[in-house]
Symmetry: C2
């Protein structure tokens, strides 16, 4: 099955909003054997939408539209799809009740305009939207004797993602009754995309599985998808392939699925009943921010300090003036004392620290911009290392340092330090 994507709205074409829906949907559909062939965006113009939809129907068996399902006059998607499909519009009472209920829940009466969101092309299948007012729909629109489908979703990514995962993907899979698909995602850290590509080269044969990469800085993900007939042991095949992938990736693999590094570290701390405190210099609070993005992190995150000045390093977490004088703020010695100091101050099991030169100023020939040190302290032990990350911008240096530091906590917890 070939799919094309159509994002509808002045704000998309004019650059006020970036269309992230089309790419997300393309990725989800690829995992069930769909081939994405192209994308379109069009302004809120009736004839423009109709012309673009016809073009998309020339290229693809399934056209997925996003946007233009709202209640206002410039929301034209449903009307244009009905026109292109040669069908009338009909009111769906159940959808109307759902929309009215959502307004009541927030203490309002439904404005009359929203009634429009319960109209669908005659014969369409309605796609429920648990997170918003506008339901989606899918309708058959044959062209040149071929079966074609148009599926429409709201422009709000959160609503559309859930509808695609829960409804469209199973619908597409069900249209290929003799095929089954199963995917797993592997998140890695410390590899470039091309190095990951090299590491996994030949790990699966083309007829065993589809292997795709996705760079979602700072992690790089690989996704394995296996396909087969009903009754095939896809889990078993994926398990066997995964064993090979795990062997190749070693400690670079930090999670299976979409778990982020901060979630992995949080899960491991929680499993072991350990607590964490962090002293940040060049990362300025980013590690604390990431760690506390995880719901329930208060169970293991006791304290973060961003000791940006030398005075704060001495006074708040007890880095010795002699250490700072002899080795400088950006040194493995200072990193170790920061990790030990914040661990002691917080009464935590593990202390983590960063200190470095994020630039653009502050570099020297011995310690150029991108020089960072990471420290780790625990009961009876301490570890530190200097990294030369290079100057790829302040934000990149901060983010990479934060990720390297959290990865070190993970590896320490797993006994995989080098």
């Amino acid at each position: 099955m070939k799919a094309a994507f159509l994002a509808i709205g002045d704000e998309i074409v004019g650059g006020l909003t970036t269309d992230t829906n089309s790419g997300f949907i393309a990725g989800e559909l690829r995992a069930v054997g769909v081939e994405p062939v192209g994308g379109f965006s069009v302004t809120d113009d009736e004839d423009g939408i109709a012309r673009t939809l016809e073009r998309a129907l020339e290229d693809a068996d399934l056209v997925v539209c996003t946007g233009g399902l709202g209640p206002t006059a410039d929301d034209l998607t449903t009307a244009v799809v009905a026109r292109v499909a040669g069908r009338g519009l009909v009111l769906d009472e159940a959808s109307l009740a759902h929309i009215e209920a959502r307004f009541r829940m927030r203490g309002f009466d439904m404005p009359p305009n929203n009634r429009k969101q319960a109209l669908f092309p005659d014969g369409a299948t309605i796609i429920p939207n648990p997170n918003g007012t506008a339901p989606g729909f899918v309708v058959r629109v044959d062209r040149s004797g071929h079966e074609r489908w148009v599926a429409c979703f709201p422009g709000v990514p959160r609503e559309t993602r859930a509808m695609v995962r829960d409804w469209l993907v199973p619908w597409v899979a069900a249209r290929q009754p003799d095929r089954r698909f199963l995917s797993r995602t592997y998140s890695t850290f410390g590899l470039t995309e091309s190095r990951l590509d090299e590491l996994l080269a030949g790990v699966v044969a083309a007829d065993e599985a589809r292997l795709a990469f996705r760079a979602a800085f700072p992690r790089i993900q690989a996704r394995l998808t296996v396909a087969g007939a009903p009754g095939d042991d896809l889990e078993g095949r994926l398990d066997a392939l995964e064993a090979r992938v795990r062997e190749r990736l070693g400690h670079h693999l930090f999670a299976v699925g979409d778990e982020g590094m901060e979630e992995t570290v949080g899960r491991l701390l929680r499993e072991r009943g350990l607590t964490l405190a962090v002293a940040e210099s060049c990362t300025g609070g980013r590690i604390g921010d990431w760690v506390t993005n995880v719901a329930g992190s208060s169970a293991y995150f006791l304290l973060g300090v961003a000791t940006y000045s030398n005075e704060a390093k001495e006074k708040v977490i007890g880095v010795r003036a002699e250490t700072l004088a002899a080795h400088g703020a950006v040194s493995t010695q200072t990193a170790e004392e920061m990790a030990q100091g914040v661990r002691r101050l917080a009464g935590a099991d593990v202390g983590l620290s960063t200190t470095g030169i994020a630039g653009p100023g502050g570099g020297t020939p011995e310690k150029p911009v991108g020089t960072v040190c990471v420290g780790l302290a625990w009961e009876g032990g301490v570890w530190s290392r200097r990294y030369d990350l290079g100057d790829r911008g302040r934000d990149w240096i901060k983010g990479t340092t934060a990720q390297v530091a959290l990865d070190r906590v993970r590896r320490w917890l797993l006994g995989a330090m080098d």
Copy 2:
């Protein structure tokens, strides 16, 4: 002039990369009077690119392509554009020398494949790329007796943004020799997009300026563009309109141009020679992270603490146990003591604090998820406020709280507290 956008590459269509180039270019071109009419994305397929380019040329006078200018076999843009334009390919010696020089600069010989990047359709105007190897080009491709143009840029956003700003925008402006354009951007905080729209309704007449909005969470921007003939006083006209905009926006306007809130706060602190310390509970380090994203922030940012536990609040920054017991960790009283405590600990001029319930757990009927308190302390004074932000997710609550808190520092510095 009407423009369409064409993003080329399997990774765009397949959802491995999001196309941010098309929207950026559309926004820049709108400011010089261009009307964006639609967008396309297509895989690395020769016939597919040609067909899509023809479709785009049906709709627009200018088609802006991005991607597919690299050295590998699947980089097809230049060859396809030459084919569609009915022109041969010619080698540009100056571009070849530029590409060779970029490799030498990094200590490599140019691989033979990269020679391809110095080939252009015969008669094309070459667009220099100061940040990468692949130059761009623009070539005339007339259709149905109308003058049409195709402009091609690399897929790397950093390279393309500079080339668009420095070359394409002036080129488009020069093609309208009797028109001049001038734009300014106004960044606001504390308003929804629709409230901003209402506030600015009628502030400029349609023939005075073009007004566009852009929601770039957490700030909402308005952009004014004036157009006129050569010799018109566009600066003067924009100044007069800006005075009206400023009056309407009041303290919601925090910056003219692209300056972020953390940069505005940093600039104001620096101008006044004041220093800042931050105690974060629910934001977990995000304020420190943002503040230290600004180069040179070490001049005014002394210390951040993420006192996630009550124990840390007491022990590290001296919040009194009685305050925590009587009012709870999420209270204006605790926020005030946190701000005072971190200010004292750091010896800073201004102390800022946040404490709140970021969810998903931890809410109560009196203090539901999204309840946050912000505190501010200075020599001889203290301020705090409770906000009920509502439950729009942990990340949203953290980000909004961080922005509200920094905005309060800005307003305090400007004497615009309410």
